[in-house]
Symmetry: C2
Subunit: 348 residues, 2 copies
């Protein structure tokens, strides 16, 4: 590009750029905050200069002087879980589209890290934060303190009373659909879960399972497997081996609390030569919840209740933007839950 040759004059600051573009610095400053806040002709002149020289405001100087930055923090509990990676992607892009600068953080399943992230986030003076907390193992008081200082919207995983709003999935809808489907088409399922799940959704799913089973006149049967951390597949795998060995299943149906457990469960079944599915030669049906990105590729493919990804993510950012525009406070904390969509595949 020939134009770049002129651009080789490296511009230090807005003062210099303003001079080169023939506009005063305060106006240029105004332009960068909102290009449409200046007269079209001056806007054109600035953008013309912007093409010739490449200059952009020093973000540190900008953020120091703005009371509120354009930063948005996105915190998820475990990024190596493709579910969160996917949702984070959506959140990121929505923030960018709205003119914000998202920063993505993963708590990696550790309370300490979550607290540290929130700590560091505070000094970034973000306009707002989208937080999917660890859940049970979160440091409630740390999050509480954080939320008092930073406009925060919780998503995916609810912690009673924390944050200005919560957007997530309706766990009852998930479980009722899967349970009803399984009972309608075969025997009622046992519920397969971790003994001490970190995620609050897990507890709600268990309760929903019990409630739906009782409503349908079946006796709930819950199988709890040991294991800590976020290696759900491993936990599901080990747990399933044990369950199969002990013949702990009362029927030919299992509903896993989440897809990652189910992935481990199916792997164990395969190893044990147990045919899973609703075909005639199958002896077990396995369903689950979440519609994990890999659920389509399990063997057999996993029947599961899908999150309304788009709506959860979309509403989360919308809510955060409202919150920000509202000065960081809502009159009352709202909880928005989206229902599941049953995805029938081969496993049940």
């Amino acid at each position: 590009m020939i134009g770049r040759q002129i651009g080789m004059t490296k511009i230090k600051n807005m003062e210099e750029f303003a001079a080169l573009s023939g506009i005063s610095r305060p106006t240029v400053s105004k332009y960068f905050q909102d290009p449409d806040s200046v007269r079209p002709t001056t806007k054109a002149r600035i953008e013309e200069a912007l093409e010739r020289f490449d200059y952009r405001p020093n973000i540190y100087a900008v953020n120091q002087n703005r009371k509120l930055t354009k930063n948005i923090g996105i915190v998820v509990p475990y990024l190596a879980d493709p579910f969160f990676a996917e949702i984070a992607r959506y959140l990121e892009q929505s923030c960018i589209a709205a003119g914000y600068r998202p920063s993505l953080f993963s708590s990696h399943g550790e309370q300490k890290l979550e607290s540290e992230i929130l700590d560091g986030l505070q000094s970034m003076k973000p306009a707002g934060v989208l937080l999917a907390p660890l859940g049970r193992i979160s440091d409630r008081s740390a999050i509480e303190k954080f939320c008092a200082n930073v406009p925060t919207v919780l998503f995916d995983s609810n912690i009673e009373g924390l944050g200005a709003a919560f957007i997530g999935s309706d766990n009852f809808s998930f479980v009722s659909q899967t349970v009803e489907y399984m009972t309608r088409t075969g025997e009622p399922p046992s519920f397969f879960e971790m003994r001490t799940p970190a995620n609050p959704n897990a507890n709600k799913r268990r309760k929903a399972y019990v409630e739906v089973m009782e409503r349908l006149g079946f006796e709930p049967h819950i199988i709890k497997v040991d294991g800590k951390g976020w290696a759900f597949e491993e936990i599901g795998h080990k747990g399933a081996l044990k369950v199969l060995e002990e013949r702990a299943l009362r029927t030919d149906s299992v509903l896993c609390s989440n897809d990652r457990l189910a992935i481990g469960f199916l792997a164990a079944c395969f190893e044990q030569g147990i045919r899973v599915g609703r075909k005639e030669d199958c002896t077990l049906r396995v369903a689950s919840n979440d519609d994990h990105p890999f659920a389509k590729f399990t063997c057999p493919s996993l029947t599961t209740a899908a999150h309304d990804y788009d709506n959860v993510a979309g509403r989360s950012v919308e809510t955060l933007f409202e919150l920000i525009e509202n000065g960081g406070k809502f009159e009352s904390r709202t909880e928005t839950l989206f229902p599941a969509r049953l995805v029938l595949r081969d496993s049940a």
Copy 2:
């Protein structure tokens, strides 16, 4: 905490904090840059004050005045791939341990996004950047320009001549181990890959496959499947269905270019009732490369060549730190490759 009551006095700036701690501001400033650069007694006094009041330097003011920030950018091509999520986790933690502030970005498989990320990264004036580029679809000139301004270490995916150094895996080692294993224990494998892989590793793996096969006296047989983007499982799945339908395999062995393709391949085999593995009743053996976090839970579990995660990640950050200490330039660009470790599971 009672102490926090005193801390309720909210501190605006370092000036105020310095006054409260009884130390002059320049010394306090010095402390925050390196706590050991001040006398132990003053360090103690500052830290004592730090306990009573909670203050931390304004990162924007700090970064504005520092020539080099303590920020480190980590850019991966696709974060929804657990492989990158895992490696990013390691990189993050190493950076934090070294006193830096990592920021994680995902290109989400898009060239435009990768360029935008690098663009935004530049204005963050990072001390250094760890970049795993998209590969073939990267905007070479954009990355080149970026590397000229920011100390950058490439990892995982090499682009000839770009960045101050490259750290990755030795694709030849991957493929030679899997091919040799498969030929030694059975028939020589066909090579299953995408027609136009974005990742340069894929090309190196193909070449290695051909080379090793020829060396062993077998005729290479490459199967290329269509598909774009990063939905490798889907592509592998569709491709496998086609391959199986057309009976395009010449032997009972397949080596997939990477695990995500293999996951799709195995799902397709399962659906078609093809038994995979080395047991007697199996008609196909499938191996792959990467040791994806889910490779253990495929059906059957996947025999694969594992990345030396720890060393690749570890050496990457080490190299970046050296680069930073070296003023952002190395005498010559180095390429470091780590060999694979063959992981024998059930699929081959």
